[in-house]
């Protein structure tokens, strides 16, 4: 499993030190850890925090949100001696891996990686006139075709239907009832597939399968139907601008490579045009650090985003 380690509030020298230490402990940890520099979006975030004794604490945060509709995240704090020495970092990384493993085990009630993949495959094959039933014969969704597009009618909005399907391991496909089109929620099948792909866990083998090539998107996702989010918008902008490898996109957006793969898989599933080429040349040139003007521009954009979120949410 590939995971991202980030820092917050570290000086350039301290960042370099963390990067070097991470290389040294690489053979002693179970996961493949990548350092993303200063960011707040990482599986393991090291943040300097003043303590009452004048020392520093390190905050360890799990990236996966507890509830996708809220900003809440599972957060664990671990105090560590400052300056952080190599064995201290090793200890934190190993503890984080343990927390992540426990968290995965605790979620055994939901579909596994393979089950989600099988569910997506099953749903992709659905046709107009089909319906999805739960074990107790309760109708979850019915499908119709309108304007060459397959639509779902359901009692549930798209994200809730996705959750219900992931949790119900025994769904039955049958014929739609006559009054199915009277169900309150209507959206295309691709909206459901998009949601499932973005939420799916990735098998470790996926990373190696995707990492040898650069990808570009020939179309923007259709946000009339497809769920957005900061990462989805920025990933769409990045891949429509130029071909990027998984690692380049992850570094550019300071997110986990897994999130990039999930996005590209979702794009493929909903039928967006993706072209890929084998990586030949050097790494795509990403601006190392913004100059003063670029910094001001990014800060302005960040203020605008914050303002839009606050005022219009």
């Amino acid at each position: 499993m590939a995971l991202i380690l980030g820092t917050y509030g570290f000086s350039p020298y301290e960042r370099k030190l963390i990067q070097e230490q991470l290389k040294v402990i690489d053979s002693k940890v179970a996961c493949q850890w990548m350092y993303a520099g200063e960011t707040t979006e990482a599986a393991l975030l090291l943040a300097k925090k003043p303590c009452h004794k004048g020392t520093q604490a390190v905050q360890v945060r799990l990236y996966k949100p507890v509830d996708k509709n809220s900003e809440s995240r599972q957060t664990h704090y671990i105090d560590a001696e400052w300056p952080l020495r190599i064995f201290g970092l090793l200890d934190i990384v190993q503890q984080t891996e343990k927390i992540i493993n426990n968290n995965s085990a605790a979620q055994s009630g939901t579909a596994t990686t393979n089950e989600t993949a099988a569910l997506i495959k099953k749903l992709t094959a659905l046709k107009s006139g089909n319906a999805i039933y739960q074990l107790n014969n309760q109708l979850l969704a019915a499908l119709t075709e309108e304007n060459r597009r397959t639509f779902i009618y359901s009692r549930l909005p798209v994200s809730a239907l996705g959750d219900a399907l992931r949790k119900n391991k025994h769904i039955e496909i049958g014929n739609a009832v006559d009054n199915a089109t009277q169900l309150p929620h209507k959206y295309p099948l691709i909206a459901l597939l998009w949601d499932l792909e973005l939420e799916a866990d990735l098998p470790a083998s996926d990373l190696s399968q995707w990492e040898q090539r650069r990808y570009s998107l020939g179309q923007w996702p259709d946000f009339k139907w497809l769920r957005t989010g900061d990462n989805v918008l920025r990933l769409s902008a990045a891949f429509t601008k130029r071909p990027l490898s998984i690692q380049e996109a992850a570094t550019l957006l300071k997110i986990e490579p897994g999130a990039v793969i999930r996005f590209l898989k979702a794009c493929t599933t909903v039928g967006l045009r993706i072209t890929d080429t084998r990586i030949r040349g050097a790494q795509a040139r990403l601006a190392a650090s913004p100059n003063e003007q670029q910094g001001k521009q990014l800060s302005l954009l960040s203020s605008l985003r914050k303002r839009l979120k606050m005022a219009f949410s």
């Binding site: 957005t228 550019l252 954009l301």
Partner: protein
């Protein structure tokens, strides 16, 4: 590098530019509406003759300026001047108007510099699902890879999504070193 602190609202007469700016603007948007003398082109009472202006006030005393260009084509010489320093442009398309497809392409070509960096977003209103698919196909055929939204210019949420896409686009533009 000039700080890009404005968003343009472009499109033909009657596309909804003035409404979009009024929806997003913090203050009462300045408008230069006069009696429409060209009702054959689009049957509405008033039209913009100079420029619509509004602003979004940010925390740190900065402002994002919202400019609506006059949609009539005889104002074309002023468009590049207004486009300087733009984060991007929201191209409003009213699909109930005749020739809406040609108008869409006309405005994309007129703001070619923004289109090349994918900084134009097409926000269509009064559009059916079939027309939406037709528009997506048209842009694709012309080689434009631009975001396309169905947007009612009276609704905040839909315009906010449009702005967030332009923000994401410029952030990536800055971060990729060409």
């Amino acid at each position: 590098m000039q700080i890009q602190n404005k968003v343009l609202f472009i499109g033909p007469m009657g596309a909804g530019k003035t409404t979009a700016i009024q929806t997003l603007s913090d203050d009462v948007a300045a408008s230069t509406e006069v009696q429409n003398s060209n009702k054959e082109m689009f049957n509405k009472e008033t039209t913009t003759v100079a420029m619509d202006y509004g602003a979004i006030q940010l925390d740190d005393n900065q402002r994002i300026h919202l400019y609506g260009i006059p949609g009539q084509k005889h104002f074309e010489p002023v468009w590049p001047v207004v486009a300087k320093g733009a984060i991007g442009a929201i191209l409003l398309v009213n699909a109930s108007q005749p020739n809406w497809q040609q108008d869409t392409l006309y405005f994309i070509k007129a703001f070619d510099m923004l289109a090349k960096s994918n900084s134009i977003l097409v926000a269509a209103n009064r559009i059916t699902d079939e027309q939406h698919d037709e528009l997506a196909e048209l842009l694709d055929q012309q080689g434009y890879c631009l975001p396309l939204l169905t947007t009612d210019p009276r609704f905040h949420d839909e315009l906010v999504l449009a702005l967030n896409i332009l923000i994401a686009n410029l952030e990536i533009e800055i971060s990729i070193d060409d």
